[in-house]
Every structure is written in structure tokens, then in C-alpha cells.
């Protein structure tokens, strides 16, 4: 597959602007972050040089405290746990919504209309969508007073708010849509004749779903998963507000260090987070070759 030189040049020129934007606003800052993560610092400034202090102190106590867990391991376990729960719920809910939109809604205009309906929550800001849960779930909130009124419980449930439950609930509420869109995109491209063929061959509904629909929806599932996982791994605002600032999050560590003006330590933590997120994403993309499937 050889292209003529002129065609090649045109291709480069077309990719050029994106490449420049990518290099200037992503690669270059990332290089700075990695560079700064190896600098030293004091109370008020960064000191250029080379030290592993930022990393060394981040993993402080990880060997000494064995078999107990050190701060950073505890933090990442908590973050990954929240991430996994959010991913699992958004996947099940997102897939169901996308499946309904793709296979049960016949008219194209109705499909578009309902998809747009899914975006309504996005008309307000992230923070407002999150804070809206607080009067609902609080100790004297609607859910608690409703349940008490019905006589289901006799004293308010405290775990409804400022808990892992609240965090996962609001993350699922915030990010399910990021799962719906790519999965829906994969599902509508499935050739309907394949499903008819499965049906003719005697497959049950579940068998068709498991052996035909889900394998073909894999690219959408993986793309949606990448969206959700990368957002949740770096989140500290939702986990902070809904968790009552009492839950550890990888992003939270970075925020605390930034606020204390310890930029190199914050950069080191950012690099650690990046590496771990990258490992998760590359494991996911092992499952399916996204380039091939698109």
C-alpha cells in the first residue's frame, strides 16, 4: 500500500493541526509535569534539580507498615473500588438504555428524540446535579422522612448521605450517559439480519444477547468504560462532596498537595495516577482492538 508522495503530504497536513494542538496542550504540559515531579520544593517554591522525594514520600510507610496498608495503597484501593462499582452500574444501566433505544424504538426520529432526552441532565452543571442529591438523601431529607412516614424505619438512615453509597449513586447519575452513547452507536450498526439468523437457528433471547449482540457491542462498551474509568479515577469533587470529604481519592491527594504549594509532590502523584489509569486502560484495550472495530 504505497501512496504517492503528494498524497502523503496532504495526509500529514490534514493531521497537522490536531497534532500541533495535541503536542502543545497535552504532550508538552505532560512533559513538564513529569519533569517537575522530580524537582525538590520548600514552603513556597519549587527547586529545580533531581530528587525522587515526591515519589519516595508518596509511598512512605508502604514497607514499614506491612501487613497494614500505607496511605497511598489505601487511597488507591478506595478509588479503584469506587471506580469499579461505578463502572459496573453505569455499564448495566447504560447498556439497557442503549439496547432499548436501538432495538425497541423503531423510528429514527424517536431514537434521536429519546437520546436527546438523556442529555437533559447535562443542561445544568456537574456541581448542581451532584448537590441536588443532598436534600434528598440527608438525615432529614425526603427519602428518610418518606421511609419514616411509611413506618419502614424508625430512625433516619445515616448511610444515605456522606457515604460510599452516596458517592456511587451520584457518579452513576453523572456518568451513565457516557456509557449510553458509544454502546448505542455500536448497537445500531449491528446488522439486524444477524439477529434474525440467530432466532431462526433456534437461539433464545438470552443466547442471542450473549453470543451475538454483546460481542458486537464490545467496541462501544470498551469506549464507554474508558470514559467512565478515566473520569472517576481522577475525580475528587464528587467523592469529596458526596463522601463528606471523609473518603480518600487519588485526585484528593493531588488537590491537598497543590493547596499546600507542594507542586512537585502533586506532580509525582499525578504521574502515579496517570500510570495506574494507563495500565487499566491498556488492559481494557487488550480485550478489543478498538482501531480495528471502528
Amino acid at each position: 500500500m504505497f501512496k504517492s508522495p503528494s498524497k502523503n503530504l496532504v495526509a500529514w497536513l490534514q493531521a497537522g493541526p490536531m497534532m500541533l494542538v495535541f503536542a502543545a496542550f497535552f504532550l508538552l504540559p505532560l512533559c513538564f509535569v513529569v519533569m517537575v515531579s522530580f524537582w525538590d520544593y520548600n514552603e513556597y517554591e519549587m527547586i529545580p534539580g533531581f530528587t525522587t522525594r515526591g515519589y519516595y514520600e508518596s509511598f512512605e510507610g508502604c514497607v514499614a507498615q506491612l501487613p497494614g496498608l500505607c496511605t497511598i495503597l489505601k487511597t488507591y484501593l478506595e478509588t479503584i473500588k469506587l471506580c469499579f462499582l461505578t463502572w459496573a452500574f453505569t455499564l448495566v444501566i447504560g447498556f439497557s438504555v442503549a439496547y432499548f433505544l436501538a432495538f425497541h424504538i423503531k423510528s429514527k426520529s424517536m431514537q434521536i428524540g429519546l437520546s436527546l432526552l438523556c442529555t437533559i441532565p447535562f443542561w445544568t452543571s456537574n456541581v448542581i446535579r451532584m448537590i441536588a442529591w443532598i436534600p434528598l438523601l440527608g438525615r432529614n431529607g425526603l427519602v428518610n422522612s418518606g421511609l419514616m412516614h411509611m413506618g419502614v424505619i424508625d430512625k433516619p438512615l445515616d448511610w444515605l448521605l456522606f457515604s460510599e453509597f452516596a458517592v456511587v449513586l451520584s457518579l452513576v447519575h453523572l456518568f451513565t450517559f457516557f456509557m449510553v452513547v458509544p454502546i448505542f452507536n455500536s448497537l445500531i450498526r449491528i446488522d439486524k439480519r444477524l439477529i434474525e439468523a440467530a432466532y431462526d437457528a433456534g437461539a433464545t433471547g438470552w443466547q442471542t444477547l450473549w453470543n451475538v449482540v454483546i460481542p458486537l457491542a464490545k467496541p462501544g462498551i470498551v469506549i464507554g468504560s474508558i470514559f467512565v474509568i478515566t473520569i472517576v479515577m481522577g475525580d475528587f469533587i464528587t467523592i469529596g462532596v458526596m463522601g463528606g470529604q471523609q473518603l480518600a481519592a487519588a485526585g484528593k491527594i493531588i488537590e491537598v498537595r497543590l493547596n499546600a504549594l507542594q507542586f512537585p509532590a502533586a506532580a509525582a502523584n499525578a504521574v502515579i495516577l496517570l500510570v495506574i489509569t494507563f495500565l487499566i486502560i491498556s488492559a481494557l484495550s487488550k480485550l478489543v482492538d478498538i482501531r480495528k472495530e471502528l
Partner: protein, 426 residues
Amino acid sequence: MSKKNVISRRSVLKGAAGLVGAAAGSGAITGFPYIMSQEAKVLRYLGTAVNEGDDISKKCFADTGIKIEYITATTDDVTKRVITQPNSFDVLDTEYFSLKKLVPSGNILGLNAKKIKEFDNITPVFTKGELPNGKKIGNQGTAPWKVLYLEGENSTKFSKTPTEHVTLIPTVYNADTLGIRPDLIKRPISSWSELLNPEFKGKASILNIPSIGIMDAAMVVEASGLHKYEDKGNMTKAEIDLTMKIMTEAKKSGQFRAFWKDFNESVNLMAAGETVIQSMWSPAVTKVRSMGIDCTFQPLKEGYRSWASGFCVSKGVSGKKLDIAYEFVNWYLSGFAGAYLNRQGYYSAVLSTAKANMSPDEWGYWMEGKAAVADIKAPDGTTLEKAGAKRDGGSYEDRMGSVACWNAVMDENDYMVRKWNEFIAA
């Protein structure tokens, strides 16, 4: 995909490139008004929302013709901005405890006391660490008189003896304590140790700004008789470990409902009954009360944790701009702003000018601990207290005289921040 589609996508790309160009062009155009505005008397004022009232900037413009452009940020972000973007503001309104970070950075310039008209009338709380009646106040932590003077005009070193070069011209200060919901607690509260009382399990909170939160934690630890600190504002590593261990145990047993980080969070926690006892700021208590909910800024026998703030300028400010800055600071201390701050429950650095701008009844309620004769109004006109009410904690002398420690940046700040992260993760 058909060829036609590909081509149309490319034309979209070209269109997008055009848009980027247009955006860059318009960016250049916005440069002009900024340069012109240098001619007018404009000051970019960086600070927290606490002191940045619209009434103050309007009155300032009416009196002096100086237009104040507020740049509002949280306490941490103000410090961050001074360190990273010293040219993005002219006047800085910040707390004394952050000076330990800001002054060595060389990004701020102190002002000259001789050019401040009311400097000699500034309360001795700042200059000598004592009340106007001569009573000494607690000096643990970064007390303002420890960091008030610089060795020279452009010095980055604090002077132990008074000089004319002042780090921050004092403006406002207060004594903080725990806020409680007396209607839900139903008994008197008199000690910081109550914060960890199992009676309030799941209904307590402290603030999640490490340098301030650990001071409140230290007040609690000391009140519980678990440890006596040499200086709560400058703990040793062992003391930090001990303090965080006690707080971690409380956290694990579910003592805290949530930690709060900004004013509104603290108001919501208290107003919704999620918490009944927590660290709080004076205007937040006032806000809860103005919602018709019973809330007290409870004086405690171990005393208050105090804070103070003031003005300096960016290192980029000189010449005419510096003159405007002096004019502004002099106006600020001339009374209107001081009275405004006093009416919010804070204290003005120059008491005499503030007094001249308040009614005797207001002065009696806010400063002398007397029962209000008429209803007490907030600066915006809403009624804060009915006639007959008395201020929590009483008079200025009673409140400021009971200060136990000041907000601080510790020598072991780096270690403390790491321990704080460990506390959150526990």
C-alpha cells in the same frame, strides 16, 4: 463510508481551523481596553470572599474614585495565586499565617507605616499582642505581631523589633470557636473536648483545611487532657502523630458526619441538622440564625482560635499604582469598611474610626457585649437579632482576651499535610 462523506468531513475540519484563527484574532482585540484602563484609578483586589463586599467597593468608588476589581478565591487559592501569578493582582488581602510562605517568595511588597494615616491608632492586638486595656493575649501559632514587620523595604526577613516596613496593614480579625445547635443538644456546652464526645457520634464536623483543621483538633486534644502542647501552632512530628492518631480513631468510630471546606458547606451541614457541633466561622453562624434556625457560636473555657488579615501589594506595583494602593488602604481604615466588618461579627483593626461609623446601640451590641436596644441589622438590612439579644461570647475584651492560639503554618507543615492525607484515607 462514501467518498462524499469524507470530503464533507474535511471541509468541516477546515472550517474549524478558520474558527480557531478567528478566536485568536479576537483575543488580540481584548488587549486594548486593559491598557486604557491603566489610566483610570483601578485596583485589582485579590482576596477571599469574606471581606469583598459590594457595598465596600461602591462606597470606595464614591469616596475616592478608585474602582475595585475583586478577584475572589479560597484561602488556599489566594496563596497559590500569589506564588504562581504575582502580576495578576495589585492589592492582596490575606491572612498573617500565610506570610511564612509569601514573604520568603519575594512576590509581595510590604507597605510603609509612615504613609498610613491611622497606623498609630491600630489596635495593640496587632502591634503588641495585647488588648487596649493592656491584657496579654495567647501567642501560640503565627500570631500577627510575630510577622508584622520586615527588616527593610525589600527584605524577605521578618523583623523582631518594630520597623516602618509592615508586611500586612491590619484590617480585620476575629476569634473562632465551635458552632452548636442548642435546640438539638439541649444542654450547656463549655469545652472543646465535646467535639469528640460519643454523645455526638455522626453529628460532629471539623474543617478540611489542614493547617486550620489541625489547630481545632489540637484544641480538642488539649481540652480532653490527652496532651499539653508547647505551641499548638508549631507542633513537633510526635505531636502531629499523636493529634492525628486521636482524630483518626474518632473518624473510624464514626464521630464525624462530614468535613467541610467552604462557608456554604458549613452552613448547610448545620442548618440541615446533619451536624450539631462543628468548627465554624462567625458569619456562617449568623447565616444559619438568619434562616430562623437556632445556632450558637459557643464560647468555650479553653479559649478561641484566632485569625487576622491585612493588606499588602504585589511586587509588580510601583509609582502611580502604589499611590492609589496607599489611598485605598487609608480609605479602608477610615471607618466605613471597619463598621461594615464589625457589623458582620468581625473586628476592625482601627476601632476608633469604626465606632464613629456605627450607632451607639450597634457598638454596644457588637463590641461591648450589651443587650441590643433595637433590632440588630446586617449590612444588607436583614434583621440579625431582635432587641434584647446579646452577642455570643460577650464583649470585645471577653472574646479577644480569651484567644488561645492563632492560625499558623508550622515548621513541619510538609509532614503535617502528608499526615492529613493519611487521616482522610483512614
